[in-house]
Symmetry: C2
């Protein structure tokens, strides 16, 4: 008799077992894709957040919990190249919870949705001993603009659209305020804000389209070529997931990983670890032909960076061209295991 | 300062407060409607179920919990006149839960989806102290075939597509097995099965279309006219919700409420209460012009029935044409209050 428990096989193990019930590859992308029209794909993603596991009153005001829940789902749409149509919100709530808490949660959600002209379409309210937030986001995308994990080819550039590590640093400051006493107030606030108010990167999508079009004209290419996902589970995880899905490897340049100066100055020995494995920065990690990548990074500006290159060999390496640090191989096992 | 708690204002009170954050009427229909194409509407509905609140191992095997969760969401699509495109499943699970439990839950979900050619599109797996199931279902419908709560007109017939009260009776037998000792085994199994394996009534939709078309030709009508919802929260609740949304009232004929003989024979004094307020029968409650309703009921057969008529006066009455019972006014307050 099979008495194995979830904690024994972990999230990835459970996903593999449940894959048997799903005709499509659940683990394959940030969101599912449905053909609803020859020129349009519907993109659907869903997330559940549980009080005490994914957020807590200790570090997260209800408006921030709402913003972060909405941003995580919107980021999954952006990671697929899609623009948002709306979200549903199902809430499990203890009867003893103050009404104001729920109103503040909703305010955070709608504040996050507002700049993208998207709305709460509907939801469900039920009784639950633990506050539980389940959001499903719907978006649409033209089939040529879809971004999948599995489309990367060798010798493409790997682009990170912005800084990494700030969200993890902000969480640390919220959990252990005493650790930030030497920080400038503006640096401290910047890192905490990065954790509380992550921004889904829909702004990248039209810039990526333009970068592709301009290089296609110049080099005679016709079809758009792009792969990617968001860095919600960390920058290293994103690169590893894209490589595994695409059957390629990667060489990441240690010196090119974009990190906020506020973090690099504060914790110079810790920051790379958080940038690679911290998660929840919600940037996009894209694999693109070299000239498209260069145009995208130039046009994005800020801390967008080409962080490495995809390879035929399937391993993912973090390399240091200065020779100061040994090359390190990265693996999915180093990442976050939600049930461990 | 506002320190009001959710249990003080209840589910309806909380919904009203949160309505401020939603541009569309969240309380308005079983599902939200999005225009994705001139000829097509996307229909989205979401539900959350919590262990110990909505199901328990005492009465519900994991495969039945999965089936019921899927059926409830599919029923919301059917209630809008929509056909299903797929569902997402977000699960909150304790690490100590057996993997087999989750596989059995998924089997129940996919068994329910299978006859309707619909699939699990994706989902999320997270750690949670209580098993929590959040399903979002997507469907599509031609705008003329959409069924809304608010479209009923006075002097339309009210149709119930099948028996009511069986699910509540089945739950009673699961909670208190000793109460069913006088029941025939086949009656007992029938009632329990009605609770464990409710059927979303997609089969009604093409029959309704045909009934409308045949009466439109006969009487010179052009536009389809239909209103309705499902009876997930009870038959009385469905009639009351439709009436409130449409600004009409209703007279329901006590003798016409369809109830399974297995229940009527077992508990003749209890069965009407359960049929009206028990809930979870997942039949459709439709308001239709008289001739369409008659055709629909004839063609559906089984226990489908015309149970009453809509009225200009806004009250909803349960009347007894035999004069044996006094007329009773029904109200939403008699129904289920999830947070009370």
């Amino acid at each position: 008799l099979n008495r194995q428990r979830i904690e024994e096989i972990g999230e990835q193990g459970l996903l593999k077992r449940l894959q048997a019930f799903c005709p499509v590859d659940m683990v394959g992308d940030d969101a599912a894709v449905l053909t609803i029209h020859p020129e349009k794909r519907l993109v659907v993603t869903t997330d559940m957040l549980v009080d005490g596991v994914h957020f807590s009153d200790r570090t997260t005001r209800p408006e921030d919990a709402g913003w972060r829940a909405a941003a995580a789902n919107l980021s999954d749409l952006a990671a697929m190249g899609a623009t948002p149509l709306g979200i549903t919100v199902a809430l499990g709530l203890p009867g003893s919870l103050e009404v104001e808490w729920v109103e503040r949660l909703y305010r955070g959600i709608t504040d996050c949705l507002h700049p993208f002209n998207t709305i709460i379409l509907g939801g469900d309210l039920v009784r639950s001993p633990k506050i539980t937030i389940s959001i499903t986001a719907l978006g649409e995308v033209h089939p040529e603009q879809l971004i999948c994990r599995s489309a990367a080819q060798p010798n493409w550039a790997i682009v990170a659209t912005g800084d990494h590590g700030a969200s993890r640093a902000g969480l640390e400051l919220l959990l252990h305020p005493e650790q930030g006493v030497d920080l400038k107030v503006s640096d401290r606030d910047f890192l905490i804000y990065a954790h509380q108010r992550p921004q889904p990167r829909f702004d990248v999508l039209p810039i990526l389209d333009r970068a592709e079009k301009s290089t296609a004209t110049g080099s005679g290419q016709t079809a758009a070529s792009r792969a990617g996902m968001d860095s919600s589970d960390g920058l290293a995880d994103a690169v590893l997931q894209i490589c595994r899905a695409s059957g390629v490897g990667a060489r990441l340049q240690r010196s090119q990983i974009p990190m906020p100066p506020a973090l690099a100055n504060w914790l110079p020995h810790q920051c790379l670890q958080w940038a690679l494995f911290g998660g929840e920065d919600f940037e996009l990690v894209l694999c693109l032909p070299m000239d498209t990548a260069q145009k995208l990074v130039d046009q994005l500006g800020g801390s967008a960076a080409m962080i490495g290159i995809t390879t035929v060999e399937p391993e993912v390496w973090l390399v240091d061209s200065s020779g100061r640090y040994p090359n390190e191989q990265l693996s999915l096992e180093q990442g976050f295991q939600h049930f461990s």
